[in-house]
């Protein structure tokens, strides 16, 4: 399902005996998408704006981006090369304080040639968050 990044999300759940339907309304960065899922088996989603279709695609960052982020995080925190850093790793769990997180984001900016805004920089908690944000920004640069 589409990932909801931070913003407000409202989900309504109605459960009549036969058709167990799950209706979730989510609002992400001004884009709206509605997704309906039935028994979790099939799900259908449609966007009110055309671009929101791409949004759900860009949510999962490519493995190579995640890997690259992991490498930079290891370097920045001076962790050994074989230490376990994955997409789910939280910066705080890896021993990074908020200053380290700033350094990591700055390192990522240079590596990927992007510029991360302050607000988004502070919402990054995991390697996956960072990778997702990077892909979003790279995508935006291309457009």
């Amino acid at each position: 399902m589409a990932a909801i990044s931070g913003a407000s999300s409202i989900s309504l759940r109605s459960s009549p005996p036969r058709s167990h339907q799950n209706l979730a309304l989510s609002r992400t960065n001004g884009l709206r998408s509605i997704s309906l899922s039935d028994h979790g088996r099939n799900s259908l989603s449609f966007g009110l704006q055309q671009r929101s279709v791409h949004l759900s695609v860009s949510c999962a960052a490519k493995p190579e981006t995640v890997e690259k982020v992991c490498t930079i995080v290891r370097k920045q925190l001076a962790l050994p090369d074989d230490s376990a850093v994955t997409g789910e790793s939280k910066f705080a769990a890896l021993g990074a304080d908020s200053l380290d997180t700033v350094e990591i984001v700055m390192g990522l900016e240079e590596e990927f040639g992007i510029s991360v805004e302050e607000d988004s920089a502070q919402s990054i908690a995991t390697v996956q968050d960072a990778a997702d944000l990077i892909e979003k920004l790279i995508e935006k640069n291309k457009a």
Binding site: S98, L99, A125
Partner: protein, 98 residues
């Protein structure tokens, strides 16, 4: 500090992080050697104060923020090539008695 969606920070903490980011950004514009020096100095200064300054000492933190802002403004100027620190030891000085 460990909420799942990023740590929840106070306004002051955000200002500090924003300044830290500003310093690291300003350092990028300098030569490789100076940059390295600026980064290590800025980093150690921030970390030292983070450790030593009482988090409730708002007056002093405000002062440090003001001072850092001025220093950052200066560092941003292209005429400024680097930063340096002066280590003054107060252990020998005696308070004047009068």
């Amino acid at each position: 500090m460990g909420a799942s969606r990023g740590p929840r920070l106070s306004g002051m903490q955000k200002q500090v992080l924003s300044l830290y980011r500003g310093f690291l950004r300003a350092a990028r514009a300098k030569s490789a050697e100076d940059r390295q020096q600026i980064e290590s100095l800025v980093s150690s200064e921030f970390r030292r104060n983070a450790k030593e300054v009482d988090r409730k000492n708002f007056l002093y933190i405000e002062y440090l923020l003001r001072r850092a802002r001025k220093q950052l403004d200066q560092l941003r100027s292209p005429d400024i090539v680097g930063l340096s620190a002066l280590n003054v030891s107060f252990s020998q000085t005696k308070h004047p008695t009068n």
